[in-house]
Amino acid sequence: MSSPRTVLLKVFRYGPDDAAPRYDQFRVPAGPRTTVLDALLAIQRRQDPSLSVRHSCLHGSCGTCGMRVNGREVLACVTRLDGLGDAVVVEPLAGAAVAGDLVVDMEHVYRRLEPVGRPLLRASERAGPDGAEAAAAPGTVPVLEELERFEDCIECGLCLSACPVAGDPRFLGPAALAAAERVLEEPRGTDGRAVLGLVDDAHGAWRCHAAFECSAVCPAGVDPGGAIMRLRRRLLADRLPRLVGRYHQEVPS
């Protein structure tokens, strides 16, 4: 057995009282299964307890540990050091306020998601007001498959960091636009017109330049880029008839 491999981590460091950010270097042992988050937590425990990093679920489902590793947006908890090279640069997500080190303020994600009215989880239709007991009839689990899509979003903000134009806080951004498309695909009582009006904006669906970086980095397979394009097709189908004078109200389905 050879001695365990080590990797040099160059970690972005910044505190609210610092004049400028800096990069600190840490050498950490790296096994074949060691993730970037494992390495950062090892640094925190054994080398520098002041290193701040967000994490929660450790399996790529909560979306808290998004960061840029060698310039690419990833979830640190499911990104193994193996294959990243001997020197790994770790930086916070772009376009967000850095609270400290790798910790960014996620307000910029949720401020965009909230107006769209995105549901947290898909609740099946058979749930009644009393919850458990109302749902006590097995055999009626709806197969949603296609429609399951958007609740896959884990609100990690990788798409906003990767998007070439989401540095502008006015741009609704990939996650919220994909959420809007999701709401329109399956409105569940929400007002589709209002959502359509929200995204039909120079800073809404039309701000996107179809670079598809969001879809490339999305760790949950949401394909926000594709969703934005479907949203635009929906907008065109709704607005074009008015442009040529044949106004008719199309209720988004």
């Binding site: 307890p49 929660s56 399996h59 790529g60 909230e114 919850g131």
Partner: protein
């Protein structure tokens, strides 16, 4: 201004629910968490909203808590659960022998069940092992391990609680043997400070012995990690449990487009130093595949460990006596147990019972501080989790 100030140490689900409960009762609350909220045990669990059926035979006290909280949480946190339900699946003759006790236990605890034949079960959940012998439907559900607790934090914050993530308690301020506040370090700024309080609550889960030691007291808690395995793909739509006495790898929880297989158990002294033993990962694969065969060939998303705070043989809640490692919770008033005033520990329990743990603790805190205010957390509908991020003052 004159409301007593309570410091809650620990930003897990329990701390969040406690902060929510205490501000509703009119107290001034500051919550301190050394990392991100839910970064300890809370965020790492498999995302199961327990029906209580898992504990119905062995640990009826926990089972009753679970089904009660299951109903309350669905009411106060609408939209936070997949109404998917759960199945307990019998695969062997031994499992079938356990079935009557299981049904009786559930009935005794008030947990609704419905027996299904193998064919019926497969119709409901085609992902099941087709060799199953029978199954029982129970009101389990999938929740989001981080976002459900975040709703408590969001609501607490909205009602005036001061939430301070990335702020670690480095010591306790004491007067005589009484705790009168904490010393803390803000990890983002590096600043150290003191914060006075009328009472401090130790809600640090498996870390509670560390904080208790600062007050010179002990808590009978055993950090007990378990390995969880996240697989790529939604291999089942319902929560699938093995119908037998609790064992390793006996549950598969669908979580969005992942499936979580849990769990194993051992004990450690330092909950920060958790291994992920490879043989445990293999055991999850092996046992999980018995329930849902697709587990065997599913790609691994991640394997990780989470430390439960299990209450050891010393105390046990509600006269649990010598029962080893119950899944119920216990609230310790250290004035009573150790003669240390101003310090309360809440530990044990599980994600499903976070609100009940908070209620019991808040009852104790209010009694100690002479505050007369009823618990309102059974009725107050929680703010959406997004409000935690958007509702913070700049």
């Amino acid at each position: 201004m004159d409301a007593p100030h309570v410091i809650v140490v620990g930003g897990g689900g329990t701390g969040g629910a406690l902060a929510h409960d205490l501000v509703l009762r009119g107290l001034a609350v500051t919550l301190l968490e050394r990392g991100e909220l839910t970064s300890g045990t809370t965020g790492r669990h498999h995302g199961l909203l327990h029906s209580g059926a898992r504990y119905a035979v062995n640990d009826p006290e926990s089972a009753v808590e679970c089904i009660a909280e299951n109903r309350i949480l669905r009411r106060i946190a609408p939209g936070s659960f997949e109404e998917n339900g759960g199945l307990f699946v019998a695969l062997t003759d031994e499992d079938m022998d356990y079935l009557p006790r299981f049904l009786a236990g559930c009935a005794a605890c008030g947990i609704p069940t419905r027996e299904l034949t193998a064919a019926e079960a497969l119709a409901v959940e085609p992902g099941l092992n087709p060799a199953l012998k029978a199954a029982v439907w129970v009101p389990d559900a999938t929740m989001d391990a981080m976002r459900l607790p975040l709703r408590f934090f969001a609501t607490a914050q909205r009602n005036g609680a001061q939430l301070r993530p990335f702020t670690e308690v480095t010591g306790l301020l004491t007067t005589g043997r009484a705790v009168t506040g904490v010393t803390l370090r803000d990890h983002l700024t590096g600043a150290e400070a003191e914060l006075a309080a009328d009472l401090a609550v130790n809600a640090t889960g498996p870390w509670c012995e560390c904080l208790a030691a600062m007050a010179g007291v002990t808590v009978p808690v055993q950090p007990s990690p378990g390995v969880l395995l996240a697989l790529v793909g939604r291999l089942c739509d319902l929560v699938v449990n093995r119908l037998h006495m609790a064992g390793d790898g006996d549950i598969v929880v669908p979580q969005r487009r992942l499936s979580i297989v849990g769990t194993s158990a051992w004990t450690v002294t330092d909950p920060d130093d958790l291994e992920v033993p490879h043989e445990h990962v293999l055991a999850m694969y092996r046992e999980g595949a018995k329930l849902v065969p697709a587990v065997a060939s599913a790609a691994e998303r991640a394997a990780w460990s989470a430390a439960r705070p299990l209450i050891g043989a010393i105390g046990g809640a509600g006269g649990g006596g010598g029962r080893q490692l119950s899944r119920t919770f216990k609230c310790f008033d250290h004035a009573v147990t150790d003669g240390v005033e101003g310090f309360v520990t809440i530990t044990g329990g599980k994600a499903t019972t976070l609100r009940a743990m908070a209620e019991a603790t808040a009852d104790l805190v209010c009694a100690k501080l002479g505050v007369e205010a009823p618990c309102r957390t059974r009725e107050v509908v929680l703010a959406p989790h997004t409000a935690y991020y958007t509702g913070r003052a700049a």
